[in-house]
Symmetry: C2
């Protein structure tokens, strides 16, 4: 594919010509929002997880795969600061998958659905001669605030992340906690923009900046590097680019950040890693105060081969 | 897979334990219905279409594949007599798929979305070393009537189909018209149960009867066999079992049927093919008045290899 995923999403969004009145949030955010004719709205996201890319059926249990499929979409609900409502799941099953494994996959899905009060309400299944593919489409509703978009960061805002980053591939990508509760608190404190880190901090921060038409400067020394990433040869690189952390990356005014920090009651920490700037560039202050470009070097679903 | 698709859906529905107040229609119908906390409701369906099963990328154009993916879900909206609202599409792209083909696939989706006033509002894409998989999740809203379920056929009801059946594989499975408008008129006339014929008349009528806890008797001589199927060695068998007709199969009282027939203004014909009976068996009156079991011999997504 010659175009990047980002370029194609931009193309699709431009071609769509969606009515902003009917669809306040359209293509290019973590979820799309649909106004209902009778009043109110719902949000929807869809994620397809593939054997060999998002999981490896030779290593991961069906329950783990079910968990990850649901948790990935739940994390999208969190990224918008919305409340999960229900999910439908479609699976393409390898011919030899077997009833036992399918029931275990379902078990993983159902357990996650119950834990997050987001019932599995329908689905679709087909078998084929290829590998396992699983698609979750999830609905959510707005909480106490409007959904928090990617495109609304403001100059001077603090850039924050929840938890720690990097090395999710070791284990955490099957065990991450969708930050639903955290996101609702963050939104209530006044977050201006938000995304979940699925493709890697570098890529996802670039998404926020590009869509908000702003720049950013982050400090390498402040980035919360995970325990797993610290064991890697290049921990910082891992924290910046690995992806699948499913932590929240958001922007918020300095004042609101202070308030949020003071009232933060969750296990995962909250870290300010930089500021939103006027310029369109996304920069990083490296050790020794060298300023470098922070290029989107995370996961591009159309480019990288895992 | 030792269990049939029907058995597994039953298992998943039993395990789900959905609240009927929050989810008036759950697992096992053409769409699921979600009540919204603020009032109103939406319905949702998900369908994954796979290369080698639902289409063949060597023969079908990307535009045709895009059309079929959307039209399949639109047909689910019709099966419930609901109004399409919006769709999200996820694709797993073969590595060599290329930007040109992706844009043509998108074009097919977009054209269909516009035609049926059901905008594409979001999506997901990943490339992998396997074949093309495309998932459409679609939202709809209720029309002038309640959604028409599969499980509410009544004894004595006339069994009806729109259009003609069989041989869709020749061409029609890329060109069928989702019966949205027809379905709203059918529901308004008082249809008691409805399904779209995706797996074949024999299988889909068995779905209605099993879920309604009723039986049926259809007359072979009345079944509207398509022009394509008439060229086959066994036209009736084709009309009963081929599937992917995406016509509507519904039940309605004799009185309401007369009314509907009188006011039918659509191109596709309307045919009464039998009656709903008390017994749990689904029967067919063959030429020479021989009564046979009409077994669900259509497409089982977990069994057949195409």
């Amino acid at each position: 594919m010659s175009a990047t995923e980002t370029e194609l999403v931009k193309y699709f969004a431009a071609k769509g010509g969606l009515s902003a009145a009917r669809f306040p949030i359209g293509i290019g955010d973590d979820m799309a929002q649909v106004k209902l004719p009778g009043g109110g709205s719902v949000l929807i996201t869809t994620d397809m997880l593939l054997d060999g890319t998002h999981f490896d059926t030779k290593k991961a249990s069906p329950e783990q795969i079910g968990y990850k499929a649901m948790a990935t979409s739940l994390s999208d609900c969190a990224a918008m600061a919305t409340i999960p409502l229900a999910a439908v799941v479609a699976v393409a099953l390898p011919r030899n998958f077997g009833e036992g494994k399918l029931k275990r996959l379902h078990k993983g899905i159902l357990k996650t659905a119950k834990k997050y009060n987001c019932p599995l309400i329908g689905g679709d299944m087909t078998s084929w001669s290829k590998s396992l593919a699983i698609n979750v489409a999830m609905l959510s509703i707005v909480g106490a605030t409007k959904p928090v978009k990617r495109s609304t960061a403001k100059v001077g805002d603090v850039i924050c992340v929840t938890g720690s980053l990097g090395g999710a591939i070791v284990k955490r990508h099957f065990e991450f906690i969708p930050r639903i509760k955290e996101s609702l608190v963050i939104a209530k404190a006044g977050a201006s923009a938000m995304i979940d880190i699925s493709d890697g901090l570098s890529t996802d921060l670039n998404h926020i900046c590009r869509l908000s038409k702003k720049g950013a400067i982050v400090e390498a020394a402040r980035i919360p590097v995970s325990r797993e990433a610290k064991k890697f040869a290049e921990p910082l690189k891992s924290a910046l680019n690995d992806g699948e952390d499913f932590e929240l990356l958001f922007t918020i005014s300095q004042k609101n950040f202070e308030y949020l920090k003071k009232h933060w009651r969750f296990n995962g920490k909250l870290t300010a890693i930089g500021k939103i700037t006027k310029s369109g560039a996304v920069k990083i202050k490296m050790p020794g105060n060298r300023i470098a470009d922070l290029l989107p070097c995370g996961f591009d679903h159309l480019r990288k081969t895992k």
